[in-house]
Amino acid sequence: MADACLTAIGVETSAQAVGRYYGSRRCSDDGVIDAWLVHTGETADVPNVAVRAVPLLMTDVDATAEMARAALEMAGLQA
């Protein structure tokens, strides 16, 4: 589904392209993110956005919890 949505709006199907499409809130009024979690093995260079690679496949409860925990840590919280 992701590639269908992205193709429709002219965005490349990559973590970096999606991150740049969302954009940084620090350098643009249109930006929506401060940090960007990408899947392990992915790389993304998004200006003024902290990027971290963690497993994002929600294969089970533990993996899902770990992803949410990583998101909280990116926001400076310890879950």
């Binding site: 589904m1 992701a2 590639d3 269908a4 949505c5 429709a8 199907t13 990559s14 973590a15 999606v18 991150g19 969302y22 809130r25 009024d29 249109d30 930006g31 929506v32 993110i33 401060d34 940090a35 960007w36 979690l37 990408v38 899947h39 093995g41 992915e42 993304a44 994002l56 496949l57 929600m58 294969t59 089970d60 409860v61 899902t64 919890a65 992803m67 949410a68 925990r69 998101a71 909280l72 990116m74 926001a75 400076g76 919280l77 310890q78 879950a79």
Partner: protein, 297 residues
């Protein structure tokens, strides 16, 4: 904002995408020192999960603060598009069109497993006609069968019927047929345009407590590889809480219809909030959601 060693207060209620969580923080980290007193205090943090109000958001919400019993579904938990709040896995959420599709039909018959999303043998006449009118919707374009699903859901919502049972199991198809047969031409009590997404309404709370916002985006590519494949198993049809858990597991590979940042209201809330917004990439090594299905053993 800070509490002593008595521990966090018990939350009286849980909303879909907002929760006041209590995180233990050492006094030293707060620059305080109370010799002889407890060394742990609790800092109130608000976490907002901005998604399409589908089960993707529901799951991330749950694991952001643990699974707790949910309160009654409120107006604030309703999706601006799909309108029907559901309660499952301890969270209240609004299932997306695909979520609904999964639960009113046998799983194996509903989803196009090669494509990984939408229905099997789907056609796109409505979408093409919308484009011909120049009225292409800003949300994800549904296939013809999902348009029908949306109509059924709208009728159920208009009649005020719940989409879920008392313990989290979804309604049986027969209930959906009865609701769909009803006349829904009477005026709706609240127009969809008046619904305010929870993420936006929670903005003030975030700025007071300095929490964070998580944007799950489209979680389709982060989906589970272990979907039930038996036609005879109708997810969520159980009478106990296990039904709700089965429903969540079953819907994992489906993904959701659209994603939070793609909705203008959600995106506006994320732009304005004082909280840190953490986005989660929907991309898994340039593969689509269909990939996990194909590689599943």
């Amino acid at each position: 904002m800070l509490r002593g060693a008595n521990g966090p207060p018990r939350p009286s209620r849980m909303a879909t995408c907002q929760r006041q969580a209590w995180f233990p923080v050492g006094l030293r980290a707060l620059g305080a020192s109370w010799p002889g007193h407890a060394r742990i205090v609790f800092v109130k943090v608000v976490v907002v999960v901005a998604g399409s109000a589908g089960l993707g958001s529901c799951l991330v919400s749950r694991h952001s603060w643990g699974c707790r019993p949910s309160g009654r579904a409120s107006r604030r938990t309703r999706s601006p598009r799909w309108s029907t709040p559901v309660t499952t896995c301890g969270c209240t959420a609004c299932g997306s069109a695909l979520t609904w599709t999964v639960h009113v039909q046998p799983w194996a018959a509903a989803i196009d497993t090669d494509r990984g999303w939408a229905r099997r043998a789907e056609s796109w006449v409505v979408k093409e006609q919308l484009a011909a009118y120049g009225a292409d919707p800003d949300w994800f374009g549904l296939g013809d069968k999902d348009i029908a699903t949306h109509l059924v859901r709208s009728r159920i919502a208009a009649r005020g019927l719940p989409a879920v049972g008392r313990h989290g199991g979804f309604v049986r198809p027969v209930a959906a047929r009865r609701a769909a047969a009803a006349d829904d031409r009477r005026p709706r009590r609240e127009p969809m345009s008046s619904w305010t997404p929870l993420r936006v309404s929670a903005r003030r709370s975030i700025s007071r407590s300095g929490g964070c916002a998580i944007a799950p985006s489209c979680r389709a590519t982060r989906s589970c590889r272990s979907a039930p494949r038996k036609r005879s198993r109708r997810p969520g049809a159980g009478r106990d809480q296990r039904g709700g858990r089965r429903a969540v597991r079953a819907v994992e590979p489906g993904g959701q219809c659209g994603h939070g940042p793609g909705c203008s209201r959600y995106a506006d809330g994320m732009r304005k909030t004082d909280a840190t917004v953490v986005g989660i990439s929907p991309i898994n090594q340039r593969e689509t959601v269909a990939r996990p299905w194909r590689t599943r053993a």
